[in-house]
Subunit: 437 residues, 2 copies
């Protein structure tokens, strides 16, 4: 057994404390797997007096992240978040000959190509299992477990906050606003929830997953996002009656035409595992052309689940014993990534094909359905399911439709014609539907 | 990029043909991930004239497995099965400096300790991702993805035949015998179904998973198994009414007292993902003390799903470029495995604690429930749920009980007293119940 792997942690928040705690409590099992001990020797903290849920005995505590990066350690764990200072710290660590483990999805999604190239040129590891889906080892699965496959598509519940809010709306019939307020009270949502509920956090994670799945450079700007706030309690109810659950999914598909990347509330058939993944859980479905469908479920956040992923990366590095990494950071060799067309063909959201859910409120008049279905038929859009309900409190009727698969532009053109019908009220809901084999 | 990894395949059945086919159709993506091409150069076949679902163009076809092992290849894929010839072939391949990939669960479970030690001493890979759960990369997940954790327990649907039969019994209300016949007609079950329906195949797989999860040597003899044939259609129905599905699970747990290893039909709460894994799918639940519960679902058998796992092992080997393996075959270092007590403490089935499902047919007389509940209370066994049904066709009543968690020996002692009651009929069903957090 070689000497211990010395680890410096930059940022001692929930995840950083989890890493310290898990490395301590599972030290024997981790060393027995890694072939050497993994020991945190240096940390930086913003407030030395803050109370913490881990012991810092024997650990040098620094006031600045730079001091940790300069310390005598083998690996830096970057756990401060953000995309500026974190970027500088990682570059400095790599320049100093230190491998890096990070949980920073925004940084990897937005600046990962350059960082990975830098680490690769230096023969060092830059690992980020914890950046996506918390404790689920989904990056290792894609990068090493499913390497036989051309990955056709992946779809994931990869933002626990959104899933918690949608689950509450489904179970309690709450409005989005009320469910969000509850999530904030319970600490599941930030005071400014934009990153989570507008799909930006999920878009960061999807960027990383898609790159590893398809062998394309990281391209965060290409992800189309729609937020949760457009989902109404009545849509959740109507979707259930039609046999669906509404989930916020990150979806990536690859076809002859290019890659599509999107995050939006999605109707999922209620017998699919993704539909059954509730609360703060994460789940990722991957479809490969050899393995078929596989699904991975676990906790997507929290100190120790995320620490589980950070430490798995540390064990990978410890096992290398100073040798160059064996597995490319994005699963494909740098040469293969460089050989991709630039820019890589990404489908615009208007080109993407999907089925749709459309909910309309209409005056209860004769000829309404005929007018609607004529417009859809003219656009070559089939009605796969339809449900008409008469609300108790007024004279209007609600109609929910599930359509056949159609391009976004064709659907939206038909929707404009529907919107212009005199008996159609302003409150229209239009969501995408995904069917999985 | 180095030269191609040359692969010899011993045994060109469904999986072997799948490996050839997937390596051909996904050659570009696989090379882009592995950093070099992976090429099948030699195969052995029993019947050269047999029709096959893959092209052998450019591949040397040998009449004996020994000829493939002696050929100029880097890796041998052992896909003939069995535990004698396969063992000799693998030892010969290793002695010849060739790494080995195998899908042979029986061989690894029964003779893996010696084979792994041999490969390790020679600095070669012996990989067996395909031995468990087909295309689900569960071995990589345990060996590399969850290395931060002390694994408390795992439970899996790891025999597709059993799961198919139980699913048919549940959905169609079929008897075990009828469901088995249908499974045989469809090719899901062998003419002699013993290995699958008596839990032996699952025990082989559980042996491997438990070893990697807990860091203990492979110990197939320690697995307690109960087959499916004892499950009656009425038990499936009663379990459903009590809120459970019956699944054949492989279960491994580690506690202070030792390790428990068992395969048996099990009542699973019907809101758990394992209860929702139907048909020929596999699913494995792993609980770690940092990550909590994670679940992995996918196809457990079939040519291409299994080939997906075989090729993932080949990519791992190709990426090493001739260097010694970085990851120990069983996840823990040889030194750590050797440091375990011998024999490792394994709990006997009578010591294992679980909840129970008990179904009795009793004469419809006063005092029956009092007599039953008195025996259970005397044994300090609580009744968690009870359901009494009056069958339409005769005067007896059926009673189904879910008990609290109790040791096997204590439960069986109470059951003997119940069996001796004059009003209890001979047809008694006793199954274990697992609750997952």
């Amino acid at each position: 057994m070689s000497g211990p792997l010395k680890v410096g942690i930059v940022g001692l928040g929930t995840v950083g404390q989890g890493v310290v705690r898990v490395l301590q409590k599972n030290a024997a099992a981790i060393a027995a797997r890694a072939g050497r001990a993994i020991v945190v020797t240096d940390v930086s903290v913003r407030n030395a007096a803050a109370s913490r849920d881990c012991s810092l005995a024997g650990i040098r505590v620094h006031a600045t992240p730079e001091a940790v990066v300069a310390a005598d350690v083998d690996v830096i764990c970057e756990l401060i978040g953000g995309t500026d200072l974190a970027n500088d710290l990682i570059l400095a660590a790599l320049a100093g000959g230190k491998s890096v483990v990070t949980a920073n999805k925004a940084l990897i999604a937005e600046k990962g190509n350059a960082l990975i190239a830098d680490a690769q040129a230096r023969g060092l590891s830059l690992s980020f299992e914890a950046a996506v889906a918390g404790g689920i080892p989904i990056i290792k699965v894609l990068r090493e477990g499913l390497t036989a496959n051309a990955i056709d598509s992946l779809a994931g519940i990869i933002n626990g906050t959104s899933n918690y809010i949608l689950t509450q709306m489904t179970v309690k019939g709450q409005s989005f606003a009320d469910a969000l307020k509850d999530a904030q009270k319970l600490g599941y949502a930030e005071a400014d929830p934009t990153f989570d509920v507008e799909g930006i956090d999920a878009a960061h994670k999807l960027t990383i997953l898609a790159s590893i799945a398809f062998g394309t450079p990281l391209n965060f700007a290409a992800v189309a996002t729609e937020g949760l706030s457009k989902v109404q309690a009545q849509d959740i109810q109507l979707a259930r009656e039609l046999g669906y659950r509404i989930k916020s999914l990150g979806i990536a598909k690859r076809s002859e035409q290019g890659v599509e990347l999107r995050v939006h509330p999605t109707l999922v058939p209620d017998d699919h595992l993704l539909a059954k993944t509730d609360g703060a859980l994460n789940a990722v479905r991957v479809h490969g052309n050899a393995v078929g469908q596989t699904v991975y479920v676990g906790r997507g956040a929290g100190g120790e689940p995320t620490a589980s992923a950070v430490i798995a990366d540390l064990v990978d590095i410890a096992r290398l014993n100073g040798a160059r990494p064996v597995v490319p950071a994005l699963g494909f060799t740098a040469a293969a990534l460089a050989a991709q067309p630039t820019p890589f063909p990404i489908l615009g959201i208007e080109e993407i094909e999907s089925a749709y859910y459309l909910r309309l409120t209409v005056a209860d008049e004769p000829g309404v359905l005929r007018a609607l279905t004529t417009i859809l038929a003219d656009a070559d859009i089939s009605v796969e399911a339809i449900l008409q309900k008469e609300p108790e409190d007024h004279e209007d009727a609600r109609i929910a439709i599930i359509t056949s698969v159609v391009s976004g532009s064709r659907f939206d053109a038909a929707l404009e014609r529907i919107r212009a019908l005199p008996f159609v009220r302003a409150d229209i809901s239009r969501l995408r539907v995904e069917h999985f084999e």
